[in-house]
Subunit: 284 residues, 2 copies
C-alpha cells in the first residue's frame, strides 16, 4: 500500500476510460479522490503543480507504440518520478445508442489510437464511414450518448455501461495481443523491491552518430537487459534524437548505478524517470 | 524528372495540405493527376492497388516524431519503395472566418500532430478552449469554412486562402525548427545518384536482447552513418519491436550491400524500403 500525502489522484478522463480502469486495479482510490483531466499532459502538469498527489497516464500500447505526449511531458516539462506501472489487456467495443444497428452507422468516433488499433475492422465492416477523432475513448462514448443519429463509438465496455449504450460488436481490435502499459507518476522515488524496472532518457551530443552504440554497450557489458528503446525527437532539428530506455533493475542496484555513472561521462545527460516494481512481479 | 507510367499521384488530402505543398515542390504534377485521399494509409494502399502511380505521405516531423501509420503500412501491409524524400519547414496559423476574433473562439480543431506542435500556444492564448481533432490540417480549415460560430482551425496558409478564411495569428508553433519529411512511394527502385539514403526495417528474433547492438555494430564497422533509428512495436506483444533505420548510402554501394548481407545472417529479416536521393542533395 502506497502512502499518499495528497490523496487525490488525477487520471486521463472522463469517467470510464481504460486509464481509470487501470488506476483502480493498481490502487484503491476513493471516488471523491479521483480527478479526471482532459489530456495526458494535463494529468502530469496537475501532479507537477501539486493539484493532485499522483497521476495515472497511458505510456505505451502493444499495437500503436508509445504515447508521445506522455513521453515528451515527462522528458521536457516536469521533474517527476514514475512510481508504479501496470499493464492491462485492451478490448475495444463498437457502441451505439439502443436501437441503432451496424448498417445504420454513418459516423464513428474514438481516440486516434483506438481507431488505429481497429483499422482493418473499420475497413471491412464499416467501409466509407465518416471518422471523427475524440480525445479519449470514454469521451467518444459519452459523445454518442449525447447525440441522436447514426453515430457510434469505439470504446471500453465500462464506459458503454456507464453511459447506457449498447455494445454492437465486442473485441473488434485487429490484433490479438492488445495491451496498454500505464504509469503512476508522482514526486517520490520508489524503494527497491528486488523485481524492479528503471526508466531513463539519454540525451546525446549532436553529431556523434555512435552514441547509441556506446549506450547499449554499457548495459550489455554489465548484463543489464533492456525492455524498451524508443527514439524521440528533441524538438530541435529533424534527426536530433534522445532515447527512452527501460531496463531491468533499480537505480540502487550496483550494476545499474555503475552503468549510469559511466554513461554520464559519455553522453550529454541521463535523466532518471524512476525505478519501480515490474508489472508482472506486482501481480504475483 | 521522374518517368511515371501511371501519371496520377495520390496525396494526403484534402486540397491545401502540407503534403500537397511538398508534392508540388518535388514534382510537377498536373492538377488533373492529383488524387487526394483521406488518410496516409489510404494513399499508400492506392499505390499498392495501382489506382495511382505514386503516393505522397508525411513520414516524420521534427517536433512530433514519426507518423506511425505511414511506418506501419509500409512495414506490414505493402511491398513498395520510397522513391524520393523532401523536407519542408512547417508553419502553423490560427485561422477563422472573417469577423471572428481571438477572444470569441470557444473551439479549435486540427490534426493531432498540429495541435501537439502548438500545445504551449493553446495553453497560453486560448486557455480552456474546446479541442476537436481532425484527420488533416486542411480538413480542419475546410470544416471551419463550412460552419458558423466561434470555431477556429490550426492549419496551412495555403488552405486558409483556398477556403476564404482569415489568419488570426501566424507561426504559432511552439518550437522554431518545425520541419516535416515527406516521402514519395511507388513501385520502382530509384537508381544510385552518389548522394543517397536508404531506409530499412530490421526484424529481430524474440528474446535476443543484444540484437540492436549487433545491428549498430555492423554499420559502425563499415563507417556507415545512421540518420534515424526508430523502434516500433511488431504488434505481437508489448516489448516486441522492429527497428526503422535510415542510413547514408545506396543498397548498390559496396559497404551498404555488405552490411545488409551480414545483418541477414544475424537477424530474422531485413526489409528494404528503398534507396533514394537525400533531400539536401536534391535541393542543390
Amino acid at each position: 500500500m502506497l502512502e499518499i500525502q495528497n490523496q487525490r489522484v488525477g487520471f486521463l478522463g472522463p469517467s470510464g476510460t481504460y486509464t481509470e480502469e487501470a488506476l483502480l486495479k493498481l490502487l484503491p482510490v476513493d471516488d471523491g479522490d479521483l480527478v479526471p483531466y482532459p489530456t495526458e499532459a494535463d494529468v502530469i502538469m496537475a501532479v507537477e503543480r501539486g493539484e493532485v498527489g499522483r497521476g495515472m497516464v497511458p505510456i505505451e500500447n502493444s499495437i500503436e507504440g508509445s504515447v508521445n505526449v506522455t513521453l515528451d511531458v515527462l522528458a521536457f516539462e516536469v521533474d517527476l518520478f514514475i512510481e508504479r506501472e501496470i499493464v492491462i489487456p485492451i478490448s475495444h467495443n463498437l457502441v451505439a445508442k439502443p436501437g441503432v444497428k451496424l448498417e445504420n452507422i454513418t459516423t464513428i468516433t474514438s481516440h486516434p489510437q483506438a481507431l488505429a488499433q481497429c483499422r482493418n475492422y473499420i475497413t471491412d465492416k464499416l467501409p466509407g464511414v465518416n471518422i471523427e477523432l475524440a480525445s479519449s475513448t470514454a469521451g467518444a462514448v459519452k459523445l454518442v450518448s449525447e447525440q441522436n443519429g447514426a453515430l457510434a463509438a469505439i470504446g471500453p465496455r465500462l464506459a458503454a455501461q456507464m453511459y447506457g449504450l449498447n455494445i454492437l460488436d465486442a473485441d473488434i481490435e485487429d490484433f490479438e495481443e492488445n495491451q496498454t502499459r500505464f504509469v503512476l507518476v508522482g514526486k517520490e522515488p520508489t524503494p527497491r523491491t528486488g523485481h524492479d524496472k528503471t526508466s531513463i532518457i539519454c540525451f546525446i551530443f549532436e553529431d556523434r552518430p555512435g552514441s547509441l552504440l556506446q549506450i547499449l554497450q554499457e548495459f550489455a557489458y554489465r548484463h543489464i537487459n533492456l525492455t524498451k528503446i524508443q527514439s524521440r525527437p528533441t524538438k530541435k532539428a529533424l534527426g536530433d534524437y534522445c532515447f527512452f530506455i527501460d531496463l531491468l533493475g533499480h537505480v540502487e542496484d550496483e550494476a545499474v548505478a555503475s552503468a549510469l555513472k559511466c554513461l554520464r561521462c559519455k553522453i550529454r545527460e541521463v535523466k532518471i524517470l524512476g525505478s519501480y516494481p515490474m508489472a508482472n512481479a506486482m501481480e504475483e
